[in-house]
Amino acid sequence: MIEIRNLELTYRASHSTHHALRGVSLSVPRGALLTLLGPSGCGKTTLLRSIAGLETPDHGSIRIDGETVFSAEDGIDVPSARRNLGMVFQSYAIWPHMSVFENAAFPLRYRSKVQGISARGRVMECLALVQLQHLADRPAPMLSGGQQQRLALARALVASPKVLLLDEPLSNLDARLREEMRFELRRIVLSSGVTTIFVTHEQTEALSMSDIVAVMKDGNIVQADAPRGLYQHPSSEFVANFLVRSNLVPGTVRDSHEGQANIDSPVGVIACLIASPLTAGSPVTIVLKPESVSLLPPAQAPEAAVGQIEATAFMGDAVECAVRVGPIVILAKLPGDTTLTAGDTVAIVVAPNQNTAFPAQS
């Protein structure tokens, strides 16, 4: 549905230049919800705005539904107004001089053949989809943040666009509302069947909402996969560590089989997944997920490495412990009913094949 080839974009200000997109290629199947995930400043908004035609890349091409809307090489640049997209901006960009209804109805005036009564019906339908139908006549500035976000969504969907672009739509909401809206948003997007690109910098949001997650770093897409695959088989240390805040543990390869290796580390021998073949003896970094670590009384695991708990943090459903093992400190995530406290001596057991090891970067 969306095919992006080798997109490059450099921002040029008077004193500085910034290479914001560095050869991005990406394809999104029809009807899928793809999430662009990455730390802030990595170029997600720039990519989204390029798809929308609000930025002009220096190289590359973009095809939507078989039609080339942008190609630097062929000199094609279809203006935003004719790309047939819906977009929710990070600021929502609700027009304050119009009512809720007028905001939502705006795209119909230019995009759609439906006019008059049926247009009114379509607008109310979309407002109902986001549960704002009872506020149709209210001036737009009198909406709360969550309502504005939903109105922006209704406006983006009203003209049945080919593609829906969402730029961190949940980031301005408070934590509680954000969790509710996560599922709500997915419901709305699925029910309208529109191909969607969703931008976020939050791992949980990306993993819980999308069909595909594309992880971005410094203007590149480093990996794109279904959430489960991404979680289990990250292709780089960056992806693994960005998805779950993890421990980076140095080690050396003891032996390796297909897609798997045993690694010598300060925490003992750990069975890890590997993304690329590794030779015995080569140095690696293990991205060790806190939830793969369990802490036992030393007597129960005589083989395991022993450490001392330095601090604990109670999180309600879990307890996080910082454990010192020799020169390093490991973060472990334990069930909430744990009774361990700082100063306890524990054995560290790591579940096999849950973590991934990558060649150490020199």
Binding site: A52, T56, S91, A93
Partner: protein, 586 residues
């Protein structure tokens, strides 16, 4: 490989419009410079010489004029600051009651044409006929009149009174933008109020005060109205009136070389000063922290000082509005000026009004009305185009366009008018007979208010979040529709106020039209000045009163529109006043 996005219709039109306007402004400056190095423009171009400059520099009258202008402008600056700055402080930093009334009154005195108040002050303080002088002489049996409005100090006094609202508006904005917590920190640390004033407020305000001072000094230096009304009669010339005299000498055929040289000599320092003031203002803003929070600064409690505060306000309003306007009405009702008495009352009649040349008056009114109707949309249209190119395109050289649009701000109106006159006579006239048409005046006014207009539209566009427009584009709207349905409605409040303000400025403008006017395009202010010169002061006063009456509806609409709306607490005054045009120049 670089690709170029095709420009949409609106942007193309803006590009062409701004380019044409910029060329016109440059051509105008160019014409002045060209003629200044030409010994005799009537016989075509010859090799450039510096003769004209030599003639100006050796002209003793020019030296006197320069001294006059400096004294006049300095006095005016002093008077304007002495009234404007304390008034701004009272309104912004103290708990003085009735602030909206005060700002309304300040706006009113901003709108009153200064040739009206100059006429009023002449009737009050003329050494022979001035009412106050006459009264003082009889009361204290003095031999000489105690006041002389014909002196440079007298003229500076009148100019300063009418420029005080600009000082008020510019410093009020600065007071508002100032980080008041610094001041409060000093007060809580036990510093006395006057200490805070000296050590905290003044240094913080310095960039604002300095650029305000430069701006007012330049306006006063190039001012025409007050020297024309008061100084012309006894041949006390300042820069603008002298330039007018040179361009329009009564006896010989005008030689434009000398005035062009004088104007060129003025251009460089004027452009430099304005550029400096503009830079300073933007620096000032960098460290005057403007917090967007709805934080209400603690106001200084005046206590019994409120009375003093109100006396000060009342004093200013009496001097700038009440006295001169009252005496003007009084003079218009009398055959000759005299102190109010039973005998004087018996002379009161509407004879002056009946004697007005009404058909001429109506012609002038017609021209003025056409100009007041057409100038604002032209100015704002061009201004919007300039801002659009500056902020919504990546056109190379767009910052230069902005500088060009700002240039008319630095050029005294009399110089602008002279440039246009020369251009009309020597460049355009052979192709298109524009000299003496209302169209030429329209063009002059459009250039004259362009820098003010671009400040308004720049601020307006800068305050609009770009995504509001982008959302409309994505929705399928063209650039035209986006501007019509999203941009203009959101900027409308500022635009409407600017529209009315430009209409008022146009209706009362004397300087720009005086050099360009012929019987075919005479405006009301020019007509009134001609009546004034021809000696019938009573009749001229009557004309002035009728003129002010015609302006009244416009002024009322402006005052009503400029009241801050309850829903949006942000007062609208700052973005409107001409003084602020410097301030918004980011």
């Amino acid at each position: 490989m670089k690709i170029r996005r095709r420009w949409d219709g609106f942007t193309t039109a803006s590009g062409i419009g701004t380019a044409a306007m910029s060329l016109a402004i440059l051509a105008l400056i160019g014409t002045i410079l060209l003629l200044s190095v030409n010994p005799d423009p009537n016989s075509g171009l010859s090799t450039p010489t510096l003769d004209n400059f030599g003639r100006i520099l050796t002209d003793p009258q020019a030296g006197v004029m320069l001294g006059n202008s400096l004294i006049f402008a300095s006095v005016a600056l002093l008077v304007a600051l002495c009234f404007g700055v304390p008034l701004a402080w009272l309104v912004e930093c103290t708990d003085l009651p009735g602030k909206s009334v005060i700002s309304g009154l300040m706006l009113t005195s901003l709108l009153i044409p200064s040739f009206a108040s100059a006429a009023g002050w002449l009737f009050l303080l003329h050494p022979r006929i001035g009412l106050i002088n006459v009264a003082a002489k009889t009361l204290f049996s003095l031999h000489d009149a105690p006041f002389d409005i014909l002196s440079l100090t007298g003229m500076g006094w009148v100019e300063g009174l009418s420029r005080a609202p600009i000082a008020y508006l510019m410093t009020a904005t600065a007071f508002r933008a100032m980080d008041r917590s610094l001041e409060e920190a000093a007060l809580t640390a036990g510093a006395p109020v006057h200490g805070v004033m000296l050590r905290i407020i003044l240094p913080l305000m310095r960039p604002a005060l300095l650029s305000c001072a430069i701006y007012i000094f330049m306006i006063a230096f190039g001012s025409f109205d007050v020297p024309a009304i008061i100084g012309w009669g006894n041949r006390t010339f300042t820069f603008s009136t002298y330039l007018y005299l040179l361009t329009n000498p009564q006896d010989v055929f005008p030689g434009f070389g000398k005035p062009a040289a004088l104007a060129s000599l003025m251009l460089a320092p004027a452009l430099l000063l304005v550029w400096w003031a503009r830079r300073m203002m933007s620096h000032g803003h960098r460290y005057a922290v403007v917090s967007g929070k709805a934080y209400r600064p603690r106001l200084i409690k005046l206590g019994a000082g409120r009375l003093v505060g109100w006396l000060f306000v009342g004093n200013y309003i009496t001097l700038s509005l009440v006295l001169p306007l009252l005496v003007l009405v009084w003079a218009s009702l009398l055959p000759f000026l005299q102190l109010p008495s039973a005998k004087a009352m018996s002379f009161v009649s509407l004879n002056n009004f009946r004697a007005l040349p009404w058909d001429l008056f109506l012609t002038g009114l017609q021209h003025t009305a056409i100009l007041a109707l057409l100038t604002p949309p032209l100015v704002l249209g061009f201004s919007f185009a300039f801002s659009w190119i500056g902020f919504r395109t990546k056109l190379p050289g767009r910052t230069i366009l902005d500088q060009i649009a700002f240039a008319p701000h630095a050029i005294p109106h009399i110089v602008l008018a002279m440039g246009l006159l020369l251009m009309a006579l020597y460049v355009i006239q052979p192709v298109l007979p524009v000299y003496g048409t209302v169209g030429l005046l329209l063009f002059a006014f459009t250039i004259g208010w362009l820098s003010y207009g671009t400040r308004i539209t720049n601020t307006g566009l800068l305050q609009l979040h770009k995504e509001l427009e982008e959302a409309a584009h994505i929705s399928g709207a063209s650039t035209w529709s986006t501007i019509w349905r999203v941009v203009l409605p959101l900027m409308s409040r500022g635009l409407i106020l600017a529209w009315i303000y430009i209409a008022i400025l146009t209706a009362r403008e004397l300087t720009l039209s005086v050099l360009l006017s012929t019987p075919g395009n005479v405006t009301l202010p020019v007509m009134i000045w001609n009546m004034w010169l021809s000696g019938g002061l009573g009749k001229a006063s009557a004309a002035l009163v009728v003129f002010l009456g015609c302006m009244l509806p416009l002024m009322l609409i402006y005052l009503l529109q400029s009241r801050p709306k309850a829903s949006r607490q942000k007062a609208s005054l700052p973005s409107l006043s001409p003084g602020i045009s410097l301030e918004a120049a980011g």
